[in-house]
């Protein structure tokens, strides 16, 4: 059944994937199997995206399927079965209200085992600082879709540094308007303008790949 779930998920057959997941979950150790299979499927979708075979339409559909299945899977899991490889505070920077790319990245990061704390959009610099103090993440992710957001990122990172927190975290920036040059300009540690690459780099920053 795991193979069928994997196949229908990767082939974007939403109804089948959800149906099989519901069946599988009733078997012994089923919830953990569903979780693992869906993570594997998300990884495969990410690979197909990076290879140029899948597009955002597929990432969105996959993310939606993942969330649908997790809604009835997570409550059935025992505490120890959801292993996390690290924590990330994630948000869209001040002046920018775009959230779709951030949300796609979030699902894929979660599927890869990162515990993501989503703090929202259009975020005042202090919100990042507060969230870092509260959640003590290893990673901070910033999403930026508009040119105006580049300066916001720079200032947010300055504020994080002023708060004495910069050395405790790695910062990865993402979204349609980031690049190597932007990364250097704002003082981040990594950048990605696609979610699959973002997940890969996040794992690297966590020392997990």
């Amino acid at each position: 059944m795991r193979d069928e779930l994997l196949k229908s998920f990767v082939d974007m057959d939403e109804q089948e994937a959800v149906r099989i997941a519901r069946e599988l979950i009733e078997t012994d150790g089923g919830a953990a199997a569903v979780l693992d299979t869906c993570k594997e499927a998300m990884e495969e979708v990410g690979r197909l995206f990076e290879a140029g075979e899948y597009f955002l339409s597929e990432l969105i559909a996959a993310g939606d399927m993942f969330n649908q299945i997790m809604e009835f899977t997570l409550p059935k899991l025992q505490g120890g079965e959801v292993a996390s490889i690290g924590t990330m505070v994630l948000g869209t920077v001040l002046g920018d209200v775009h959230n779709i790319g951030k949300d796609i990245f979030k699902v894929m990061a979660e599927a890869s085992g990162i515990n993501v704390i989503d703090i929202g959009i259009d975020l005042p610099h202090e919100k990042f600082v507060e969230a870092i103090k509260e959640h003590k993440p290893e990673l901070v992710g910033m999403s930026c879709l508009i040119t105006l957001g580049v300066d916001s990122m720079k200032r947010t990172i300055e504020v994080i540094r002023e708060a004495g927190l910069r050395d405790d975290i790695k910062i990865i920036i993402g979204g349609g308007r980031v690049s190597q040059a932007v990364m250097e300009h704002v003082g981040a540690d990594a950048w990605a303008d696609d979610a699959a690459r973002g997940v890969r780099l996040s794992k690297e920053l966590l020392g997990k790949e």
Partner: protein
Amino acid sequence: MVSPEMQKLAEERAARMQAAIELKEPDRVPFLGLGGDVIAAYAGITAHEYEFDYEKNRAAVIKWLKDFPADSATGGLGGLDNLTMSVAFVDFPDLANQFFMVNGPMNDVLDMKFARFPGRQLDANSSRQFIGGKNMEAEEYDELIADPVKFSYEKILPRISNNLKDLGSPTSLAAMARLGMVKAQQAAEMGKLAQALAELGYPRGGGMTYAFAPLDYIGDHLRDLPNVVLDIRRYPDKVKAAAEAILEVLVKWTLQGKAAGAKTASFPLHLNEYLSPKLYREFYWPTLKEYILRVRAEGMNSRVFCEGWHDPHLDTFLDLPAGWGYVALEKTDVRKAKEMLQGHTCISGGIDVGVVISGTPAKIDEYMKALLGDMMPGGGYICGPNVGNLPRETPIENIAAVYEAVEKYGKY
């Protein structure tokens, strides 16, 4: 009074643009100029003043265009897309286009849920924001398909405007009456700006009116983008039928713009980057293509602004007859596009605003020299920024460097 020299200048500018669209080499490369939030900063006013004070707005635009002249005028009272209202009032050609952009004073009257303006919902120096949202449920597709105009008026308008939420109430009637007053005042103010622009040698009327891929109406104003992407898989037939129903209304609306003097239909594309080539060709392109052809049959050309990354869909333009109009590119490499479209479709863009913001005049000169050197040969190229908005903080010397480079390297 517009002097004969300025009239001649306006004609030259218009001819330059037209030649490029016709895939020819003009005397010099047509240049769209740069603009955006930086116009207000350059005039020493806040974004709030720029958006709400007609006189300060006009003075700022004139100062900008005097110091940074280009082949088309930029700046003025902008606004946020309010396509729902144009659809809802499409049977009133004197109004539908007037309602299309909600600017600051209009929003004071309508109080749109999707809109935020500087000095109101935002800081005085923020850029205005369209924040979108989901305003329609999947179950409502049949109603939308049956009558997009009625549906937009009865169902959507009350959901997006706080002051029109109860249609027919005194609050809503007062809002519409006030909207009329605001529009009358703005028409007078716009007339003054148009006159000032003519005196600076800019072609009258700007020549552009808006148009949208039918699926973008659903994505931007009705369902919210990610939902449309899911709807395409879940209710493919309904999505197609809705796009076709909306097409009829939107074509009618764009042609009203033509009747008012516009020559070009300007389409900003939004769902493009989301869709695989397969979905693009099946769901998005057919009604967009039909739209372009229908307005062309009425004598208009089109400008298609391919927001984001459009590489996988570029070849669809080859379905259109050569010289149909031009593409404006954002993240798609203009050089690659030229390889594919040369001799068929005019290309605009190429100036990465990121370079203008963070570069140095020397680097910009080098960048522009390379860009023009690659893009000008053979014609069919309009030089311009990849996106329209330069932030307030953009170094003015960098902007000047762009204009100087166009002057230096832009002759054919």
